[in-house]
Amino acid sequence: MIPKIPLSHWVDQFVEWLDTHISPLFDLIKATIGFTVDSFEWVLTMPPALVVILIFTALAYAAARTRVALFTLLGFLLVWNLGYWDVTMQTLALVLTAAIISIVLGVPLGILSASSNRIQSIVTPVLDFMQTMPAFVYLLPAVSFFSLGMVPGVVASVIFAIPPTIRLTNLGIRQVPKDLVEAADAFGSTPMQKLIKLEIPLAVPTIMAGINQTIMLSLSMVVISSMIGAQGVGVDVLRAVTQTEVGVGFEAGLAVVILAVVLDRVTQSLVQNKRSGSK
């Protein structure tokens, strides 16, 4: 009989090693993420709720016109009325932070994997791993590196939600028609000029679709993040579930849905505006 491979032991040791040896890096990451989330939270919860709701309505109108704006207004008013305003804004702060980190890391990674088949063949299985590994599993190391709170919630959300941004950035750039790339080369473009003047502009709709997916996925992590102490509406959902309060669970769940629909419609209409070729 072959003895069991001590995989779990190795992983434990690796995590422990990371924790002791690069904890300054983790502290820096923790501080940065913590500061970003706090700033968003402050901006979103400081002014009176009605003011924030009106600003969101105006933004929705600018991005997506009347129907979405109306939904935003009524939906957020309902959330406010039900008493979930502050926690919903905490959740939004977490989602926005996760989305920004995903874009900042994901778009360059996507560009990089579009530039070489070898990089793509390394990145793709890693992304598969990140998306299919049950999210609870990487909550544990996240907690041991960043302790409890918003920060490990953001990190877990990023790991779970970043793949679409990377994948679709890669796809968008690879989909730029070959004859256009050839034309850019024929006139003597440098690789950077080609990227900035041709490939990224043409890939923007696809990249935006990836960012939309990333935002949706990080919203789906809200309840799981609340298990490791992330503030927000997920906490209420989790409490309702553990105490079998169906009504409360529905209210909190509805707040998540409203937030999700608003974010989805607004980001999607940004994609559409780009697609229709407006200047």
Partner: protein, 397 residues
């Protein structure tokens, strides 16, 4: 000194392609090399020179390697072997930076499917080559506007490419190629995606532009008609190798081998088209009518002859306008002025067989069937139009 000099230029596709070089040198065929090595020969030891200011046409059927060859000239594809000297400098040996300089200043390219950038306006497309050189905005705008004016697209500069017709899009492609004032313009099947009439216009305009600009143009096409129209010299390609280089006349009159001969013959329209392809519906009259009626018919149809046929459409002869008006004055009958000696041909006569007749006859040739019935007439203009490749052929009844 020739502006472009190509020596033994070879491109072989596949892994580790160098191993096929020796086989090519030994004269093994493309098929044989593929069988033995699974390598595909794209271009096989091409050598030629291009003089400044000429239109050099590279012609071949699809798969002959012509598109690969033109991409070797600006190294969009890296050659496996050989040299490409542009004004004496071998671009095959150049670094990426040097190559970029050559592409920016000396060689530009026009593509078959236009390859315009859809997110940029016509003007922004045209100035692309100048923009990436870092030329400042006002100067490059001015040059781009000049180039657009040159191709007849003034006032379209703010349109998007997809708002333009195919012909106009390719004018933008041409303007983009001309904007940075290159020494050499590569045109890869530049007009092949356009419909025939637009294509002809573009060919004419290119020739007209060329008479003013005196660029060196390397023009790729699969169409002999196009090659003959615009080429100063033509290189014919087959299986990646150049089989003949010469002026259009030389290629037509003195084909280097059987392949060229077949190629040239295949597309010789005068040996393909027959009288039935070019004949038109004749204006006819029966002999019982008077000369006044004949004159009236000519006036109505804008012709100077009417063909006289009997009830079964059997051709009796022809009456011309001069004789008819004379006959009206003198009160003669139609049969008195009938010219019976009408040149006739059958419907399946090839055009090259009726050149003599059509050029000498005073009236259009009559096309008759076996039993002498008139089925159409052949006028000189229609024969010329057909040979020039006009698709506007109508078949008379």
């Amino acid at each position: 000194m020739p502006i472009i000099e190509v020596k033994g230029l070879t491109k072989i596709f596949g892994p580790n392609p160098k191993r096929a070089i020796a086989m090519l040198a030994k004269g093994l065929s493309k098929d044989r090399i593929y069988q033995e090595t699974k390598l595909t020969v794209g271009v096989n030891q091409a050598s030629f020179t291009i003089e400044e200011g000429e239109i050099f046409v590279i012609m071949g059927l699809s798969g002959s390697g012509k598109s690969t060859l033109v991409r070797l000239l600006n190294r969009l594809i890296d050659p496996t072997d050989g040299q490409v000297l542009i004004q004496g400098k071998d671009i095959v040996k150049m670094s990426k930076e040097q190559l970029r300089e050559v592409r920016r200043k000396q060689i530009s390219m026009v593509f078959q499917k236009f390859a315009l950038f859809p997110h940029r306006s016509v003007l922004e497309n045209t100035e692309y080559g100048l923009e990436i050189q870092g030329i400042d905005k006002s100067e490059r705008r001015k040059k781009a506007m000049d180039a657009l004016e040159l191709v007849g697209l003034k006032n379209w500069e703010n349109s998007r490419p997809d708002q333009l017709s195919g012909g106009m899009q390719q004018r933008v492609g041409l303007a983009r190629g001309l904007a940075n004032d290159p020494d050499v313009l590569l045109m890869d099947e530049a007009f092949s995606a356009l419909d025939p009439l637009i294509r002809k216009d573009m060919q004419d305009e290119l020739l007209e532009l060329q008479s003013r600009m005196k660029k060196t143009i390397v023009f790729i096409t699969h169409d002999l008609d196009e090659a003959l129209r615009i080429g100063d010299r033509i290189a014919l390609m087959k299986d990646g190798a150049i089989v003949q280089i010469g002026t259009p006349e030389e290629i037509m009159t003195n084909p280097a081998n059987e392949y060229v001969e077949r190629f040239v013959e295949d597309v010789d329209l005068s040996k393909v088209l027959t009288a039935s392809h070019v004949m038109k519906r004749p204006v006819t009259i029966t002999p019982d009518k008077g000369p006044r009626v004949a004159l009236q018919f000519m006036k109505e149809h804008g012709v100077s002859n009417v063909y006289v046929v009997d009830g079964a459409r059997k051709l009796l002869g022809v009456v011309n306008a001069e004789d008819a008006s004379q006959a009206v004055k003198e009160g003669k009958k139609l049969t008195d002025i009938l010219i019976e000696d009408v040149p006739t041909v059958t419907a399946d006569t090839f055009l090259h067989e009726l050149f003599d007749q059509v050029s000498q006859a005073k009236v259009p040739l009559a096309v008759v069937d076996d039993s002498g019935r008139l089925s159409g007439i052949v006028i000189r203009g229609a024969v010329l139009a057909a040979l020039a490749g006009s698709t506007d052929l109508e078949v008379g009844s």
